[in-house]
């Protein structure tokens, strides 16, 4: 005490001359401001806490019980569910598939999205403008966005038919045999090793449109004369894209990548609708989302399902954090 008093006092003394002023000026204002902010912040935070945070926490607890989801009783069993998950081959398959989705769907979608967006906005060489989209770009813009308008369930049903056997009206197989490539026809949804790649294809198809629109918006916010300067500097389309367009829309690509990663970790709807609750033949197209659903509602093992859910939560969070870190670059300000 005796030691700390003078030490603690000295700065207080020095600070005193300013203090009365700042206090008088800001205190009532500040209190009012806080009250104002809290009033508006409290309801949404409460809703968020009750409906978002508490289920997460509950799920973590449930994952440590043997709850079936149908009974009132649940017994705490510690990490048994996690141990079981570790030894579950089906979960391994699902996890592997999720990783495939995570790597290939974002890469394909973002690459295609960037390619299409740059062709739509700056790729063309038209007569009446040096910097413009390719011919008919306004039509393409709408066409690319179509899949986004379709509900994901419809996309699933649609592609079930696309990949169906010829006798069931499968478009791809019919087309292949019509042009004489009979040897390439397959039972696309009947071969375990094709399943996840079919899912990759369908997910890419259904997401690309959104990213085309997202990247188009970003590219349009780049002043036109920057593209014109690149043109005068002798940059080809590809160089313009790599050296000018891409760095200037990199922020948006990064955001897109994070969205995409989250969407790829899911994949529930497509797999469930196209391949069924067991993840297709031999469960080869299984993903974690479907596994959770299956365990919870088909096998009545809520505790186990919750454990898979917790695994997915941490995976998603880790991946997003890693993506944010790796992709961080200096922000570019336009203008």
């Amino acid at each position: 005490m005796t030691l700390s008093t003078p030490a603690g006092r000295a700065p207080a003394k020095r600070a005193r001359p300013h203090r009365p002023q700042t206090r008088r000026a800001s205190d009532p204002m500040r209190r009012g401001k806080y009250l104002f902010i809290v009033t508006f912040l409290l309801p949404p935070v409460a809703v968020y806490a009750i409906y978002m945070l508490s289920p997460y926490l509950q799920a973590i607890y449930i994952s440590m019980t043997d709850w079936s989801g149908l009974t009132a009783t649940q017994n705490f069993i510690g990490f048994d569910n996690y141990v079981r998950m570790w030894n579950d081959d089906q979960i391994r398959t699902a996890l592997r598939n999720n990783l495939i989705l995570l790597v290939f769907v974002p890469v394909l979608t973002l690459a295609l999205g960037l390619f299409f967006a740059s062709m739509l906005n700056v790729g063309g060489r038209r007569r009446n403008a040096a910097v413009a989209g390719v011919r008919g770009s306004s039509i393409y813009r709408v066409v690319y966005f179509f899949p986004q308008v379709l509900s994901i369930a419809i996309v699933g049903v649609l592609f079930k038919y696309v990949f169906a056997p010829e006798s069931a009206g499968g478009i791809i197989n019919t087309f292949l045999s019509k042009i004489g490539l009979e040897s390439l026809t397959r039972l696309w949804l009947g071969e375990p090793r094709y399943l996840i790649w079919v899912v990759v294809l369908v997910m890419t198809w259904s997401f690309v449109g959104f990213y085309v629109v997202l990247f188009s918006a970003a590219m349009q916010s780049v002043p036109r004369d920057i593209y014109e300067a690149a043109l005068l500097d002798g940059a080809s389309r590809f160089t313009t894209f790599r050296k000018v367009t891409l760095p200037l829309v990199w922020d948006t690509v990064q955001v897109g990548w994070v969205y995409m990663a989250i969407q790829a970790m899911d994949g529930f709807a497509i797999v469930h609708i196209m391949l069924g609750v067991n993840g297709g033949v031999e469960g080869a197209g299984d993903v974690l989302g479907v596994a959770i659903y299956r365990e919870a509602f088909a096998s009545s093992r809520f505790g186990y399902a919750a454990a898979i859910g917790v695994l997915m939560l941490f995976l998603t969070m880790t991946i997003v954090v890693i993506f944010m870190r790796v992709l961080r670059r200096e922000r570019v300000e336009l203008g």
């Binding site: 009446n128 014109e228 300067a229 005068l232 002798g234 940059a235 203008g335």
Partner: protein
């Protein structure tokens, strides 16, 4: 180094009937600094962008030196452009911005570095080479844009209002810098501006455009002394020329209300040949001298505002006399501007009589607006 030739070059924007640039004929000498000037929408930027290859040429042709570049892509034209908003690449450093074109063309690294450094020294940018454009002031950005053009050592420089984003004081100093830099480098330059002072001070020759049509190309002083038509007369010069339409009366004089000026015989003949008894007369503020009211003729003016600049004094007034209202209808602007001896300016509200110095009136046909030579 090269000449630039516009040969009936025409640009019609899709969906529009009138051309933005209407068969422009213009020959620019090797090493010349040519300024394209005109009010907004006159087609001056379009003309420049046609030369750059950023706008299509719908008819006619454009040549750089002996090469026909009419339909050549911009990168093959060997030109460099300075944009109004500079169009610097925001994600690149100053050095990378300046060296970008060279890098694309595959110039060796050492060579790029040497040329960038050289240009940076010329423009006083050496200490900023590692900065990004956002960390530069407007004037510095402007210089980087200049540097980007210089580094390429092109045949032609194109500048699209490069000074319009600078503040007034910086604009004046940069103006002289650009002009002297151009003289030093000796590269043919086409410069677009809407500011006639920039045009007059920078250009070897000035090209005045209006509504896509070429009005006159000449040296700044010739433009000032012998404007080819009413538009050029009113556009070039600050304060603007006084222009009004006068009735021709007996005795080699023209009258508008109380105002009375003499008209040379040669002009009278041409006007009567045209079958008209009206003539548009213009006189610059410095061509007017105050006289005593007893003299024959002159222009009676009531003083509204006096601008004393120290070195100059300008009187802004309106025509005096009973027929003043009729007079204002036939004047280009409703004020009469005269330069008077500084520190001896008349007071506000005073009525003075101004007379045009002999031989300093400009006469234009009422019908065509063309100059009538004396």
């Amino acid at each position: 180094m090269a000449t630039v030739t516009y040969d009936k070059a025409t640009r019609v924007y899709p969906g529009q009937d009138t051309p933005a640039v209407d068969s422009l004929d213009l020959a620019i000498e090797d090493g010349e600094f040519l300024v394209l000037v005109g009010p907004s929408g006159c087609g001056k930027s379009t003309s420049l962008r046609m030369l750059a290859g950023l706008e299509e040429v719908d008819a006619g042709s454009i040549r750089i030196g002996e090469r026909d570049v009419t339909h050549m892509p911009p990168k093959d034209r060997d030109i460099a452009m300075v944009f109004q908003n500079y169009a610097l690449y925001p994600h690149m450093t100053v050095a990378a911005n300046m060296g970008f074109a060279l890098k694309i063309s595959g110039t060796p690294k050492a060579e790029i570095q040497r040329r960038v450094l050289e240009a940076a020294k010329l423009l006083d940018l050496v200490e900023y080479l590692d900065r990004k454009p956002k960390a530069l002031s407007g004037g510095q950005r402007q210089r980087v844009a200049m540097g980007r053009a210089i580094v390429r050592e092109p045949q032609v420089f194109l500048m699209d209002e490069p000074l319009s984003n600078l503040d007034a004081k910086l604009r004046v100093s940069t103006r002289t810098q650009i002009a002297s830099l151009q003289r030093r480098l000796g590269i043919t330059t086409v410069y677009v501006t809407h500011d006639q002072i920039e045009a007059m001070t920078m250009g070897d020759r000035v090209c005045v455009l209006k509504d896509g049509l070429l009005q006159q190309v000449d040296t700044p002083l010739n433009l000032y002394d012998t404007p080819a038509n009413v538009f050029v007369a009113g556009f070039i010069g600050s304060p603007a020329m006084n222009i009004a339409t006068f009735d021709i009366i007996e005795g080699g004089r023209a009258k508008l209300g109380e105002a009375d000026v003499s008209v040379p015989r040669s002009v009278l003949t041409k006007v009567s040949d045209e079958g008209s008894d009206l003539v548009t007369i213009g006189f610059r503020p410095e061509s007017l001298v105050p006289v005593s009211s007893e003299d024959v003729g002159g222009i009676p003016v009531t003083v509204d505002v006096v601008e004393e600049l120290g070195s100059d004094a300008f009187v802004y007034g309106h025509p005096a006399g009973p027929k003043a209202a009729e007079q204002t209808d036939r004047m280009r602007s409703d004020t009469v501007i005269a330069r008077v001896e500084p520190r001896m300016a008349p007071a506000k509200g005073e009525k003075i009589v101004l007379k045009v110095r002999e031989g300093e009136s400009h006469f234009f046909s009422v019908k065509t607006g063309e100059r009538i030579p004396q």
